[in-house]
């Protein structure tokens, strides 16, 4: 299965706020991180959540965010990071329009 991103790519979580079941955590929206792993390929949980069991299969990426990028007043160490699994439909390239 082909993936739009690869390990080391800088990606941004879409700054979108649709209603309903959304898997990308609120605190990651609009934030940029680095792909550290491809965690597998799974059906879109946002389809499964509404009983659509045969929807598209998406790559799931492990994305590392710098803590200082996530939290405006972060007081911890400069190397602290948070890793979040994010589905491909929520990611766009850091630069450019994405999809």
């Amino acid at each position: 299965m082909s993936e739009q991103f690869t390990i080391g790519d800088r990606v941004r979580v879409r700054r979108a706020y649709p209603p309903g079941h959304v898997r990308a955590p609120y605190f990651t929206r609009g934030k940029t991180g680095v792909v550290t792993a491809i965690a597998g390929h799974y059906r879109n949980p946002e389809d499964l959540a509404y009983g659509r069991y045969d929807g598209e299969i998406l790559p799931l990426y492990r994305v590392r965010f710098e803590q200082a990028d996530l939290w405006a007043e972060y007081q911890g160490g400069p190397k602290d990071s948070t890793i979040v699994d994010v589905y491909e439909n929520w990611l766009e390239p850091e630069k450019g329009g994405g999809r």
Binding site: Y17, H21, P25, Y26, F27, L48, A49, Y50, G51
Partner: protein, 107 residues
């Protein structure tokens, strides 16, 4: 523009101290989990449907219910939505169980 944050999506919010002690599960909590597993076995319920229905309990109910109470409410709603059970059927069964419970307690 930043949109609305839903009640369950609380990553990063101050939550106070986290209780570290373990606890035993009540018998009814294990039954809720057993029902969930049965529904999954017959492909009536996926984890993401559970999550969606728990989130859709909304502010207030979401905060007031305990962990397995949320599960119970979510499983019930999925089974109603899929016409596996009906509201009427559920209401009558709940009354039957309640009456049985009252009777047993009185004896």
């Amino acid at each position: 523009m930043v949109g609305p944050r839903r009640v369950h999506d609380m990553g990063g919010l101050d939550a106070g101290p986290v209780p570290q002690e373990g606890h035993q599960h009540e018998a009814w909590e294990k039954r809720v989990d057993a029902i969930r597993m049965l529904c999954a076995k017959y492909d009536l319920l996926r984890t993401d449907e559970m999550r969606r229905n728990i989130e859709d309990l909304g502010p207030g109910v979401y905060d007031e219910l305990g962990y397995y109470e949320r599960w119970c409410a979510a499983i019930t709603n999925v089974l109603l939505q899929k016409s596996v059970i009906s509201v009427d059927e559920l209401g009558r069964k709940m009354k039957e169980v309640e009456d049985r419970w009252e009777k047993a307690r009185a004896e």
